[in-house]
Symmetry: C2
Subunit: 257 residues, 2 copies
């Protein structure tokens, strides 16, 4: 069985293959890891499927399904990230039995040291995240072994756990005890309200990353880049019998929205 489900939302964009290649090269080093990749697209990308097969990581590749029930969302409401996370949570509750679940963005950084700690999550675990908006660090505040607050504090309720989206994990068992609990598009702060509904409190969250003194997760962002354009290949002359058509195909095919 798997001890860690890593959920990664993705969407077709120029650096996607680069970001996913790099992330897969970290995840492949973690034992008993299962990767749930959820794509904001109606059909799967051939390149992403190849990348997943090649990575040898156990995985499920989900794509956006129009017929997927979007809880509490007004008609026509567009909330791609929430949609993808709901889809992942639904899949995990239906298919998994043990282990823990964490969210990892494709262009973020996770130190390998964290995964082994996260696997030990009994209910809800929390750790610091670096380079977050607005103040650069998101973390529980620990004093004499107890959680006394959050930095920065919640804007909704002083009793909440306003963890960053990449700063917490929940156990599969806890999710299965609350099968209706997910991310709602009506939520002001979806992560925080999700954790609240699962019963997270200052006195029951488990602290990771050396008792929250180390940064093992960073919210880096890959700069937006342009798609290579086939027109540039054609400009220079006839490249029909060269490596260029294959190269452009490998980069572009099925990776555009």
């Amino acid at each position: 069985m798997y001890s860690l489900y890593v959920v990664t939302p993705t969407n077709p964009r120029p650096p996607r293959l680069a970001d996913l290649t790099r992330l897969s090269q970290t995840l492949r080093q973690v034992s008993s890891l299962y990767w749930v990749l959820v794509d904001d697209a109606e059909k799967p990308s051939v390149q992403v499927q190849q990348l997943l097969r090649h990575s040898k990581i156990e995985h499920t590749y989900l794509t956006y399904q129009k017929e997927f029930t979007d809880l509490n969302c007004p008609e026509g409401f567009r909330d791609p990230k929430g949609q993808l996370r709901r889809l992942a949570i639904q899949w995990i509750v239906e298919h998994a039995h043990n282990g823990s679940v964490m969210f990892v963005l494709e262009d973020s950084v996770v130190d390998l040291q964290l995964f082994e700690e996260v696997k030990l999550t009994k209910g809800i675990s929390v750790w610091p995240v670096g380079l977050t908006s607005p103040i650069g660090i998101s973390t529980p505040i620990i004093s004499k072994g107890y959680v006394t607050g959050f930095h920065p504090p919640s804007s909704l309720s002083s009793n909440n756990i306003p963890a960053d989206m990449m700063g917490y994990a929940v156990s599969v068992q806890l999710l299965r005890q609350h099968p209706q609990t997910t991310f709602h598009c009506s939520d002001e702060s979806p992560e925080e309200q999700f954790l609240q509904r699962l019963g997270a409190r200052f006195d029951n969250i488990e602290l990771k990353a050396q008792n929250c003194t180390e940064i093992y997760v960073w919210r880096t962002r890959t700069k937006k880049l342009k798609w290579p354009e086939k027109v540039n290949m054609l400009k220079e002359g006839n490249h029909q019998f060269t490596n260029l058509p294959t190269l452009y195909l490998n980069v572009l095919e099925n990776n555009r929205p």
Copy 2:
């Protein structure tokens, strides 16, 4: 002995620890790899030293030395990246005997598949790089097994190899046969002129990445981010006896310019 020297220029900036952690998690999977990290700083960063030790990658961590001879550079001329690459080349010529040398930026992506191919470099090897400026792909053009040009072509000479900085490797032996050859600050296109001085021609470059049909290297860029500020920690109250001082110290100490 080592079969691959990876040179990475770095400088103090907010996502540095994140970028280097992620890159180290790729490089640690490559056998017989030696990492030459060259820092645009006068003294080494404690955090970077810890990261390197922890990665278990064999390495040398060089910092900018004021007394380092800056070939052909007018006095006061500032060319940090060239300076760092010259420093790395000088160190390799003095210390290494075999293997090949490639440049990898800290926020780029290299597919693990490439390293084993690069290790086989006899003289000069070249491969495609994705997400490059201005057209998104930099590659030799191959027709019927022969190099017939470059995409995009060189602006200096149609016989040159205008490879991207991350699109080539040279053997240590070739470098030692040309001990005076390095990057010059007077060069219009330093990589291209470096390869030219080492004797790279269409008919002697070795082609990697499945005969230049696959993208195994991408020039991704991590978005610029702000430093976390200690003032934010102090705003909320007295955190002297919490985890916050250690956390801020771990992120900031020795990583500011």
